[in-house]
């Protein structure tokens, strides 16, 4: 029999016993739906987790410190063995030149120092001691400012500040009203004078001071910034950036302030004041976590200490793979039950349609024709059940996302998309349903094909 005739007859037969076949198809659909819902949950949670991890800036970044001096922000950890082989004096300085070099490496998207300093905020006549953290431009793209009241920085060099909500509450009982108002930061600026500057200094006392201070002086400065927004969560600026501040300003603005940093003093002690400014640490952002290793190796070979959380992402991926496997397993159990339903329906159909099989055979249907017909019916149930199941699974996922979002909103937290049905999952689930249905149809179809036509025709 030709494929088209076979399909027509199969769908016709399914239509005729509509109730029973619909129930069986529904069974397949529920099985597929549970599979899809489980896996979409797995995929969704994995996507969510990696999004959050990317936001944290921990897994696509290499943290670089100089081998020269302080251990930097990872100073609590064991000092890398390589530091013993290079004398601190000979190591490359982590200065502007090094920063430019890092930025030229492939897959590197951003290189930035960590700028954090203590400040006194003046607002409405009040004085508040707090810390300021410079946020890199990339923090805007990776969702650091999700859930901000007001707006994110209007540009990477905008003279604006975003306040952490707890701090905002200190400034005003109604924090939301702060947006658009101005605050003044007081901070210590590091000033460096060249020897020419010192020579030209007219005030002899000042000239003496400059010479004595080795060309570095620390001056008290003020900066007025507009409040752009208020944020609940604690935006991180990458490794070492946790809990970094309560007032956030664009990193470029923070750098331009030339705030005195602890390493300025260290550098002064080491070089007697003749050195150029260096960074305590630099964060090198790469395109994706998989680019971390290459960047890290390249920077190491340039003679710097590096640190990344690459291993952490690897083990995380293993955890999610196992998680997906288990979810898929539970989903498949439901589909297995559904396939028993298909077997049952088709075996019942054989009993019921014995005479029909006999007639078909008497009219010249081969064993293969009969087998194909039952097979096509099983496949059709699988196909219909698969498509319905994917739709149902997607709806379940959407409902879960909706429910979770409602719950989180009640807890004053931003909603998340916890279920996600990618195309490969939808297509794979339908294909899986068809394959399982065909396997389920294997026995009934074989049995129908083997029926003796004389006995089948005798059956009332």
């Amino acid at each position: 029999m030709k494929g088209r005739d076979l399909t027509e007859l199969a769908f016709r037969n399914l239509r005729e016993a509509i109730l029973r076949n619909s129930l069986t198809t529904l069974g397949v659909a529920v099985g597929v739906a549970s599979l899809v819902a489980m896996l979409s949950l797995g995929v969704g949670l994995q996507t969510l987790a990696s999004q959050r991890l990317n936001k944290s800036g921990l897994f696509d970044a290499v943290f670089v410190t100089s081998k020269r001096g302080m251990r930097g922000m990872n100073g609590d950890g064991p000092r890398p063995a390589t530091t013993k082989t290079v004398k601190p004096e000979d190591a490359n300085p982590l200065d502007e030149a090094a920063r430019q070099e890092f930025a030229k490496l492939p897959k590197v998207t951003e290189v930035y120092p960590q700028v954090r300093f203590l400040t006194e905020v003046r607002f409405n006549g009040g004085r508040y001691s707090t810390s300021v953290l410079g946020l890199p431009d990339s923090s805007r793209a990776n969702g650091t400012f999700d859930g901000v009241v007001g707006k994110a920085f209007s540009s990477p060099s905008a003279e604006e500040a975003i306040l952490q909500s707890e701090f905002a509450k200190e400034l005003s009982a109604q924090p939301a009203t702060l947006v658009g108002k101005e605050i003044t930061l007081r901070y210590a600026q590091r000033q460096q004078s060249s020897s020419a500057d010192i020579a030209n200094e007219k005030d002899i006392d000042q000239q003496m001071d400059d010479m004595m201070s080795g060309g570095i002086s620390i001056v008290s400065r003020e900066k007025t910034l507009r409040i752009a927004g208020i944020i609940d969560t604690d935006p991180s600026a990458g490794i070492g950036g946790f809990g970094g501040g309560r007032v956030f300003i664009p990193l470029r603005v923070a750098e331009d302030l030339h705030v005195a940093q602890p390493n300025d003093v260290q550098e002064f002690v080491r070089t007697g004041g003749s050195g150029k400014p260096t960074y305590m640490a630099l964060t090198v952002r790469v395109k994706s976590p998989k680019d971390v290793l290459k960047a890290e190796q390249a920077i190491k070979s340039m003679g710097f200490n590096t640190f990344s959380l690459l291993d952490a992402t690897r083990s995380l991926r293993i955890v999610f793979t196992v998680f997906d496997l288990f979810l898929g397993l539970f989903g498949s159990l439901a589909l297995t039950v559904a396939s028993l339903g298909i077997i049952n329906t088709l075996v019942m159909a054989i009993l019921e349609r014995r005479r029909e099989i006999g007639v078909l055979k008497a009219l010249g249907a081969t064993d293969r024709d009969v087998r194909s017909l039952f097979f096509a019916e099983a496949g059709a149930m699988g196909l219909l059940g698969g498509v319905a199941g994917v739709t149902l699974g997607w709806l379940i996922g959407a409902a879960l996302t909706w429910g979770t979002t409602m719950y989180l909103r009640r807890q004053d937290l931003p909603g998340v998309k916890i279920s996600y049905v990618p195309w490969w999952l939808a297509g794979g689930a339908v294909a899986f349903a068809v394959v399982v249905s065909l396997l389920a149809g294997l026995y009934p179809a074989g049995r129908a094909a083997r029926l003796n036509p004389v006995e089948a025709l005798r059956y009332e």
């Binding site: 029999m1 030709k2 005739d5 007859l9 016709r12 037969n13 005729e16 005479r355 029909e356 006999g358 007639v359 078909l360 055979k361 008497a362 009219l363 010249g364 249907a365 081969t366 064993d367 293969r368 024709d369 003796n452 036509p453 004389v454 025709l457």
Partner: protein, 267 residues
């Protein structure tokens, strides 16, 4: 009155004595069933030759083995021993696919209980053998219509079997048997579920088909008067054995249909 003769005396009286090779040649055919410990011989060492164009009635009482023998000739079953040659091919020796092809291409079957598929319309039922034979869609419609016209059911093509009378159902079954243009038509008690008027109509149709299309008709019946009226050869079975086989002149009952009542009949 028709006369019955033994097989040895039959040849000079046969209607188609001038035809050379027999179409069907059954030699020492037996069919045994195992029923628990017992072995039942439904057909026991039957030999029979049927020539093309004959109308043979297999006559016998219930349990005589006539239907079993018909099933063997129609390729629905295989003999336990013996050989059945149809056009030189031994049905007992070919595989099940070949046997199915034989049923599809050479054989048309009509049953006592009509066996139209209840879920399909009459038209779809008649189309079924054409689907199995993979006949082109464009050709099917015309052949189905012609077959239905032949049995005067052109107007009922969209009806389901449950909406048809017994006689109409059997005529529909006949159309289904004819649509694939078989060379042998097997009818197993075709009048068994019909009243005498409808039964007679079916047999007239069979006769008409046999005479106008030159088709070989083999019919199982337990009603001797019907066999004598319509068949030109009667083979009697009893307890699985062939007890008599003779040609006879059937009554001149005319054909089943007047030409104006069967437009579009295949010629």
């Amino acid at each position: 009155m028709p006369t019955n003769q033994t097989s040895g005396q039959a040849s000079n009286q046969t209607l188609h004595q001038d035809r050379e090779q027999p179409l069907i040649q059954a030699r020492n055919v037996s069919r045994q069933y195992r029923l628990g410990e017992a072995i039942i011989s439904a057909v026991n060492d039957v030999s029979l030759e049927i020539r093309a164009g004959e109308f043979v009635a297999l006559l016998g009482s219930s349990g005589s083995g006539k239907s079993t023998f018909l099933n063997l000739l129609a390729g629905l079953d295989r003999p336990t021993s013996g050989a059945i040659h149809v056009r030189g091919r031994n049905l007992a020796a070919i595989d099940s696919t070949e046997l199915a092809r034989y049923r599809r291409d050479t054989v048309g079957m009509v049953f006592q209980s009509f066996n139209l598929l209840p879920r399909m319309t009459l038209e779809e039922n008649v189309e079924l053998p054409l689907r199995l034979a993979e006949v082109d869609r464009g050709e099917r419609e015309g052949r189905v219509a012609a077959a239905l016209e032949h049995v005067r059911l052109g107007a009922r093509r969209q009806h389901r079997p449950s909406e048809l009378s017994g006689g109409e159902q059997q005529r529909g079954a006949l159309a289904r048997a004819l649509v694939n243009r078989p060379s042998i038509l097997f009818a197993d008690e075709p009048t068994g579920n019909l009243d005498s008027v409808n039964g007679e109509q079916i047999l007239l149709l069979l006769r008409e088909i046999q005479s106008t299309l030159g088709m070989t008709v083999i019919m199982v019946t337990h009603e001797r008067p019907l066999a004598e009226r319509f068949a030109n050869r009667i083979a009697v079975l009893s307890d699985g054995r062939l007890v008599s086989d003779g040609t006879q002149a059937p009554e001149d009952v005319g054909t089943g249909l007047q030409p104006d009542r069967c437009p579009g009949a295949p010629q």
